[in-house]
């Protein structure tokens, strides 16, 4: 059939669609999981943290305005600078780019929502509650004071015995959860929920940027999770990973932290670059020049950013050869960024730039970010870094790249996209003042810091003596900081006067932009899902907006009566099936709050209430999952244009299969970080490792664990056959699963007990500690499999599992297979390495 479909639409179609996507009324608005609501509050919360951390920055700048100032004492100042960095990086920058993608990504792809709406809501609420409590630790002198990088031993039990550092680990815990959840959403969202026809070569640059972002989160955050796990274990139970006297090494933390921390800078920057590549073509009214090069640059940046973490550690005394490699890699990463900058300039040249506020912020971004990139190249040069490292030169550089590379595009994005979500646009007149104040203030504040640093002023000092030549530049920096604050304050005025969020009747496409988020939309996004034939469909496909709004394209209604979106194939975006999506839910909200409470209570060491909260969280997650996996609840439904699609799918084309793969990658990376730590500590203190004769377990014990694992694998395989062959799963399935999980637990207990009985204790040495970490990691996965297996058995008993309705079983099986593989590798490392290496 021809598109657009010219047949009149049935009368009740729009009503059904609106009813399915209706915004819950009254207090139940808290239960909404739709991406527009969650995205808006997500970005709002991130911006709140930007303001709070900004206030902390003003406190610091006031303290440093004059030498020997006594406004803030050392203890307070150290908490303030630690919180400023931590909040800006973890509670503002990452959540902000994630929130924006929750808000915009589905609309840019004309999807009705992200594939896991409740997961987004869960991640948001856990982040908001956890973040606010974390911030409040400042008021009780309990805030962390070890710097946002938290180097042990300063942050370990001996030199920071209070709860302060634990609050940092807590704050990070939330952002780890929400970042991983976001990565799952975004990978699956970008790959499987694009509008039909939006093949990879027609995918907007922003989607590419978010895909690379999500992949980077998958490979970077696990290092952070591993690092924070080790630090918390050392703090709470004195497992000596970083204690030199017991064979540990403080530098191990730095490797893990920066293996995450450096990609993290690009995790913040790439989404912003993606936004620039969306906004600039619209403001210049011309397609992006060099689309393919820009996409290649994004991917290249993602790869390279994992090879430069050591440039934060040039001064730790590493061999010259390693430093040379990282010097080269750190310089190389500027090439893909250069490509993007020249592509933007070329785009400006190709079109006619309209000087609206978003344009101003993008030009400001180019100015500031190019400068920051150039000082970045300077810092990549090892000898120069030996001088500049940990001075105000670096403070200047990092603000030029992060404030320049992320905050300027963010403001451009606010001014650019708010018309798509608000009944009024922001003010052009106020916006120019906002830009002017922030741009001038930024440069007045941060440019002098280059000089202050080279004049010898180290970072993270709460005061400085007079007469060092630092007085004037510091005063200037303070003046600039207040100018920025004035600009941000004026922006708030603009928001209050003009931001009127509305999912329907927004002012709409005032820029005459070409991408799909500018389609007329409601809570359900666009009325129908267009067939896309170009990168800027609104420019190239005449009358598209009207036809989409008239329901002339795919899925113009809600054929199942519930919230749903189209799942399309990853490369060519061919329609595969209609995904039925969960709607508003108290379960996700309560689960999030209980999760936050669980970690908070753990931090202040109220174990019983913490366990209670953890139990509530688990029950709520199960409650919310129970209604998912609906099975093929009805026959294939029409999505318009004569196409019938199934409403359920399992296996490699289903969204949940992809989510499990992503989770597997996260788990594997985390495991790899522990394995890295094992071998790293071995090279640092080989004397701690057992000689071949004194390995903690006998060959027989190892064989016992191995047989248990293999038995579990065989039974799982049998269970899969049992499920596939019969319509109703026989009791044999449940029996096989029960035995298989028992063997898996048995393998773990067997290995754990062989270590324990040999007398090895985790507090003995770095060797013992890392061995028990590998065991504990395996134990954690086994526990998760245990829960998943019980859940699967319960669904089988409840009659919710059969040869068709089997996503639950498939997901459990994938995670199970991963856990067994990890178990085998753990065995091989713990017993094989000391025996054979």
């Amino acid at each position: 059939m021809e598109l657009p479909n010219t047949l009149p639409r049935p009368d009740d179609e729009l009503v059904t669609l609106e009813r399915a996507w209706q915004f819950p009324s009254g207090i139940r608005f808290l239960t909404e999981v739709n991406n527009i609501f969650v995205g808006l509050v997500y970005v709002g919360a991130a911006f709140l943290f930007f303001l709070l951390a900004g206030i902390l920055a003003l406190l610091m700048r006031t303290q440093l305005a004059v030498p020997d100032n006594t406004l803030l004492g050392p203890e307070t100042y150290n908490q303030v600078f630690t919180m400023h960095g931590t909040i800006m990086m973890f509670l503002f920058a990452i959540p902000a780019v994630e929130g924006i993608s929750v808000l915009l990504l589905p609309n840019i792809q004309a999807a009705r929502d992200l594939p896991f709406p409740r997961l987004s809501a869960f991640a948001f609420w856990a982040y908001l509650v956890g973040g606010l409590v974390f911030f409040c630790s400042l008021f009780f002198e309990l805030a962390p004071r070890g710097g946002w990088f938290m180097y042990p031993p300063l942050t370990s039990f001996e030199y920071d015995p209070g709860d302060n550092a634990d609050f940092w680990l807590l704050g990070i815990g939330f952002i780890e959860i929400s970042a991983i959840a976001g990565a799952v959403e975004i990978v699956v969202g970008v790959l499987l929920t694009r509008a039909p026809g939006m093949s990879l070569d027609k995918m907007p640059v922003y989607c590419w940027a978010m895909l690379v972002f999500a992949l980077m989160v998958i490979f970077a955050f696990p290092a952070m999770i591993a690092g924070t796990a080790l630090l918390e274990l050392e703090r709470s139970f004195h497992w000596p990973f970083f204690v030199a006297d017991k064979g540990g090494d403080p530098v191990l933390w730095q490797h893990l932290f920066w293996f995450f921390g450096h990609p993290d800078v690009y995790i913040i920057f790439l989404p912003a670059a993606g936004m620039v590549s969306m906004i600039l073509p619209a403001m210049a009214r011309t397609p992006l020049v060099g689309y393919r090069l820009v996409v290649a640059a994004l991917i290249g940046t993602g790869f390279l950013s994992f090879g430069l973490w050591v440039h934060h550690m040039y001064a730790t005394g590493m061999p010259q050869l390693s430093l040379s490699y990282f010097n080269a890699a750190s310089m190389a990463v500027s090439v893909p960024t250069g490509i993007q900058i020249f592509a933007w300039i070329a785009t400006i040249a190709a079109g006619r730039l309209q000087f609206k506020v978003p344009t101003l912020f993008i030009l400001g971004f180019l100015f500031v970010f190019v400068l920051g990139g150039l000082t970045g190249v300077m810092l990549a040069a090892v000898p120069f870094d030996w001088q500049a490292h940990d001075t105000y030169f670096v403070v200047a550089h990092l603000h030029y790249v992060v404030f320049g590379g992320m905050v300027f595009p963010l403001f451009a994005a606010f001014y650019y996209w708010i018309p798509s979500l608000s009944r009024r646009a922001l003010s052009e007149r106020l916006g120019r003042w906002v830009f002017g104040l922030i741009f001038v203030g930024f440069n007045v504040s941060f440019f002098p810091m280059h000089i202050t640093g080279l004049l010898g002023m180290p970072r993270r000092i709460y005061t400085y003596p007079a007469g060092m030549g630092w007085d004037l530049p510091n005063l200037l920096s303070t003046v600039g900081a207040f100018l920025i604050a004035a600009g941000v304050g004026l922006f708030l005025v603009d928001l209050i006067r003009n931001l009127r969020p509305a999912t329907t009747r927004s002012i709409g496409n005032i820029w005459d932009a070409g991408t799909l988020e500018w389609l007329p939309n409601g809570n359900y996004a666009s009325r129908s899902i267009p067939f896309v034939t170009s990168l800027e469909p609104l420019w190239d496909q005449p009358n598209l907006a009207e036809d989409v709004a008239a329901g002339a394209y795919f899925l113009p209604g809600a054929p199942t009566g519930y919230r749903e979106t189209l799942i399309t194939s990853p490369i060519h975006a061919r329609p595969l099936y209609v995904l039925q999506m969960p709607g508003p839910s108290w379960a996700a909200l309560i689960a999030a709050i209980a999760t936050a409470a669980f970690f908070l209570l753990l931090t202040i060491k109220w174990l019983i209430p913490a366990l209670f909260a953890g139990g509530v969280a688990l029950i709520m997650v199960i409650r919310w999952l129970w209604t998912t996996d609906p099975g093929p609840s009805q026959p294939p439904v029409p999505i318009g244009c004569g196409i019938m699609l199934p409403v359920y799918m399992t296996g490699p084309m289903s969204h949940s299969w992809w989510a499990m793969i992503v989770l597997g990658l996260v788990s594997a990376t985390m495991f790899a970080c522990y394995v890295f730590s094992y071998f790293y500590l071995w090279t640092v203190s080989p004397g701690m490792w057992p000689a071949e004769a004194s390995t903690p377990a006998s060959d027989a014990e190892v064989l016992r664990s191995l047989l248990c694992l293999l038995g579990s694998a065989a039974l799982l395989h049998y269970a899969q056959h049992a499920l596939a062959s019969r319509r109703q799963p026989p009791p044999r399935l449940c029996l096989a699963l029960s035995l298989a999980v028992a063997l898996l637990v048995g393998a773990f207990v067997s290995d754990l007990s062989s270590h324990w009985e040999s007398g090895l204790r985790p507090t003995d040495s770095a060797y013992a500690a890392i061995v028990y970490v590998l065991l504990a990691n395996q134990g954690f996965f086994v526990a998760v499999v245990l829960v998943m297996a019980c859940y699967t058995i319960a669904r089988s008993v409840a009659g919710l599992l059969n040869h068709e309705r089997r996503a639950t079983f498939d997901n459990t099986r994938l995670f199970w297979l991963y856990t067994m593989l990890q178990g085998l590798l753990t065995l091989a490392i713990l017993h094989g390495a000391p025996r054979f290496l």
Partner: protein, 328 residues
């Protein structure tokens, strides 16, 4: 700047004694040169890109900029060319810094503490020849091996005028090779955040002609002189007394070689009177500041590990400070 003797350095302008921009050794000069070359290059590139962007906005033939060839040239070819050159320059500079003629090096062991520097001069067999704190002396024209480590948390050893920084990490020893050719005194400061008083963890390095250095080292090696004046004897008695009214007294943490004071937590005070600063570069050293420091260290340097001893009478405090000031 380079000419003043160690005795007159208090009068020297302080805004040049802790500065990357005023290099005083060949190594610091190499780095400063690299910094200048890169700064000038950065300015040129920055201005070029900005001019290009302005041209793209409003230039007459701006459509010529809107080409793929331009992106490939400006974004790939040019950076690769410039960066290859810079990488070579950077690596050559690094290797020139690391390659130092090592013969006959003076061995100094510097240990970072929260928030001060312990300094040991080593004999050829590695045992301690002399101990001091917060002050490093080196002979001019000779290579000095500074063996850097830390007692508690990570610190970083940095004298901007003389060399790049090098971390002091518990359990590891990093070696900084330093050669200063002209006499002078420079200020160094801890460059790795190390806790409450990271801001006030400074030290001074004095380079002096080899003969002066040898005299200084010989003086440091000596045991503390016994005080002759009764007032100073009273000070010594107070220092060594275990009954100072507080849990820990002077001698629990400090050593004065030649007396019974054998504490190891704080700086060695055997020749504290010869130093120009106290409290790791926080206060100039004289009997008055010493008395103030003893009585209210927690006020002057909140969070340092030296408690305030505010129970001494004024007379006792003066005696104690006078005794310490006399330990030259």
């Amino acid at each position: 700047m380079t000419r003043h003797s160690p005795q007159s350095w208090l009068d020297a302008p302080t805004d040049r004694i802790q500065s990357v921009l005023h290099p005083q050794t060949p190594v610091a000069q190499l780095i400063a040169d690299l910094g200048w070359v890169m700064s000038v290059g950065a300015v040129v590139i920055f201005v070029g890109v900005m001019v290009l962007a302005a041209y793209a906005v409003a230039g007459r033939y701006r459509e010529r900029v809107a080409r793929l060839r331009f992106i490939v040239g400006g974004g790939i070819a040019l950076p690769l060319l410039v960066l290859s050159g810079l990488l070579t320059y950077s690596l050559v500079t690094a290797s020139r810094i690391v390659e130092v003629d090592d013969t006959g090096a003076v061995q100094v062991h510097v240990i970072g503490h929260q928030f001060w520097w312990e300094v040991h001069y080593l004999k050829p067999d590695g045992t301690i020849d002399a101990a001091t704190a917060n002050e490093v002396h080196v002979p001019t024209g000779q290579v000095v091996h500074l063996q850097l480590t830390a007692q508690d948390v990570i610190h970083s050893f940095w004298i901007p005028n003389l060399a790049g920084k090098l971390d002091m990490i518990p359990g590891r020893t990093n070696m900084l090779r330093l050669r200063v050719d002209q006499p002078g005194t420079w200020r160094g400061q801890c460059a790795e955040y190390c806790g409450a008083q990271h801001a006030r963890m400074a030290f001074h390095l004095t380079a002096q002609p080899p003969a002066d250095f040898a005299n200084w080292l010989a003086a440091q090696r000596r045991l503390a002189a016994l005080p002759k004046e009764p007032f100073l004897q009273r000070g010594e008695h107070l220092f060594l007394s275990a009954d100072c009214g507080q849990q820990e007294c002077c001698a629990d943490c400090h050593t004065i070689r030649g007396t019974s004071a054998r504490g190891e937590h704080g700086p060695d005070l055997t020749h504290v009177g010869s130093r120009h600063w106290i409290a790791a570069g926080t206060l100039p050293n004289n009997a008055g500041t010493l008395a103030g420091w003893i009585a209210s260290s927690q006020h002057l340097k909140t969070g340092s590990h030296m408690p305030s001893f505010d129970r001494y009478s004024g007379e006792d405090l003066r005696a104690l400070a006078g005794y310490l000031a006399s330990l030259e």
